[in-house]
């Protein structure tokens, strides 16, 4: 795990030293603030509904942020040639993947933590519970983990950053629209497809302040599956070249 942490620290350093990291943080916080002020706070609403809408918007920006944060993970290193340094070191593939994932995920959590002032404003001026805020952020953290893992996989597959962003975008959108596919298909297959629905089935309860163990299992499983796949992709490249 020491090697994974070393790679994670290097990744965090990379975000904090590059303009891209700050551009992502500034853009996402600006959009979050505008959505919160313009829509969630607009009109007459119960504070509970304001908070629910806040977490609804934040799920979207979290997914977009994940795509932009992760596109560089392996694809940039491949483009600049520094991936060779990692792949010729004694580090195992899973250590490299975990390191990249942890670095990107910590950066996303830092970005998410910077939005905390908005629900705190609702808490101070309205009637919401700490539990609702906790559940919402837990949902965001789990959704973020899954999206960062999917982005890590896309970045391990793609030859450059743009394709990595496109690929992770396609994968995340595909998981988002599973509920529509499930409705069309119906029956047992529809139920299986519907289970994969990232937002509709699994995230929405968190935004309402409800924590379900099955949704936690879903997000953790998705994260694990994506990271294992990324590890297999890196290992496979040693065979294929």
């Amino acid at each position: 795990m020491t090697t994974a942490w070393l790679v994670a620290k290097r990744e965090l350093h990379g975000y904090l030293m590059s303009p891209l990291g700050y551009v992502i943080v500034a853009a996402i916080l600006l959009i979050d603030g505008l959505l919160f002020n313009g829509f969630a706070m607009g009109g007459e609403r119960l504070s509970y509904a304001v908070l629910e809408m806040f977490f609804y918007f934040l799920s979207g920006t979290t997914m977009v942020a994940s795509i932009f944060i992760t596109m560089r993970l392996f694809a940039e290193e491949r483009q600049t040639g520094t991936l060779t340094l990692l792949q010729t070191s004694p580090a195992a593939e899973w250590q490299l993947v975990m390191g990249k994932f942890i670095g990107a995920y910590l950066f996303l959590l830092l970005l998410t933590a910077l939005t905390l002032y908005m629900p705190l404003l609702v808490l101070v001026n309205g009637k919401v519970t700490w539990g609702h805020i906790f559940a919402g952020y837990l949902g965001l953290a789990l959704l973020g983990a899954a999206c960062v893992a999917i982005g890590t996989l896309a970045s391990s597959l793609a030859p450059n950053q743009i394709l990595a962003a496109v690929l992770s975008g396609v994968l995340i959108v595909a998981l988002l629209v599973m509920w529509m596919v499930a409705r069309k298909v119906g029956g047992p297959v529809g139920a299986v497809v519907g289970y994969l629905s990232l937002f509709d089935k699994h995230y929405q309860p968190f935004s309402r302040g409800i924590i379900k163990s099955e949704t936690i299992v879903f997000f953790l499983s998705l994260t694990y599956a994506a990271l294992v796949s990324a590890t297999a992709v890196l290992g496979g490249r040693r065979w294929r070249g």
């Binding site: 090697t3 290097r10 990379g14 340094l85 004694p90 580090a91 065979w239 070249g241």
Partner: protein, 314 residues
């Protein structure tokens, strides 16, 4: 140090390496010479564990790259054509990262960074960002990151690419210096470079190892021409030479009344021995046998040319 046995590598249907076998001893500075696309980089990537062979075996320090890839990688430092260095780190940070990644720890790392910075003459830029460095310093840093963890084997792929003449001279000295503590493998398509830095040369062409040895040995293999000064009748000398197995051409010139000079094309060292033996057997007084020297460029062209001819004939 390195034992490669019938190593082949395919990219899909395309064969990049074809049953390459060789051995390289500890402390040697060996050079892979070949035209662009000869398979040098593929072979180096296999040796450093970046790629796995499609067939064949490679052992580094007695360890098989397929059985224990991480153990093999621990023993290797690699500088690819493009140095794997991060522009947003300082030289010290970069070496610290590379060292830790390769297993250095604690107090050892600081001491080792200082040693490597001194050895690669990076002291004046040690706290500069990598992005600010010139190409020459980048190459030096590339070598520094390859040796920071004291690997037994250092592999350098085209280490002088993009350097100016002064930097090339400095790089040669640095590579020769590495041989004090490491086995060094260098690849290049520049003949003069291999000639100046390596003890032994391995010539790759179209994925096959077509020759290996010291420059002198390659000269013999490639030129195949020997000059024999002998006492005897010109006709006897020529006929004897032409009848000898392993001699494909023989021209005789009368030097004085008794002495002739034979210029013969022989098939390697065996052909040369057979020729001398046949001449002595025929009663010719062999006075001197010498190789006809050719430049490395001529040798290389001849080797790659004859290999291509063999391929097309086969």
């Amino acid at each position: 140090m390195i034992v490669a046995e019938e190593v082949s590598k395919y990219y899909g249907e395309r064969r990049a390496l074809d049953q390459v076998s060789f051995k390289i001893g500890a402390g040697e500075v060996a050079g892979f010479l070949g035209l662009n696309g000869a398979g040098k980089t593929t072979l180096l990537k296999i040796l450093c564990g970046l790629l796995l062979p499609s067939s064949g075996r490679v052992r580094i320090d007695g360890i098989d790259v397929l059985d224990q890839p991480r153990e093999v990688r621990r023993r290797i430092g690699f500088l690819p054509e493009q140095p794997p260095i991060y522009g947003d780190m300082t030289v010290r940070q970069m070496l610290g990262y590379a060292g830790r990644l390769n297993g250095l720890t604690g107090g050892e790392i600081g001491r080792r960074i200082d040693e490597v910075i001194a050895a690669t003459e990076l002291t004046s830029v040690a706290d500069d960002l990598v992005a600010w460095l010139s190409q020459g310093y980048r190459q030096r840093l590339g070598i520094a990151q390859a040796i920071v963890h004291r690997p037994a084997l250092v592999i350098l792929d085209e280490p002088i690419t993009g350097l100016d003449p002064k930097q090339i001279v400095g790089m040669r000295g640095l590579i020769r210096g590495l041989a004090e503590h490491h086995t060094v493998l260098v690849s290049s398509h520049i003949l003069g470079e291999i000639h100046q830095t390596c003890d032994r040369i391995l010539v790759l062409h179209q994925g096959r190892l077509i020759a290996q040895g010291t420059e002198a040995e390659l000269t013999t293999q490639a030129t195949g021409q020997v000059q024999v000064v002998a006492r005897g009748a010109a006709e006897l000398v020529q006929q004897t030479a032409l009848k000898t197995k392993g001699v494909s051409r023989a021209e005789v010139e009368q030097t004085d009344d008794e002495v002739v000079t034979l210029l013969a094309e022989v098939d390697g060292l065996g052909g040369r021995e057979a020729l001398v033996s046949a001449l002595v057997g025929a009663g010719v007084g062999v006075r001197r046998v010498a190789e006809v020297e050719a430049g490395l460029e001529a040798i290389f062209l001849r080797l790659t040319g004859s290999s291509a001819a063999r391929s097309s004939a086969g």
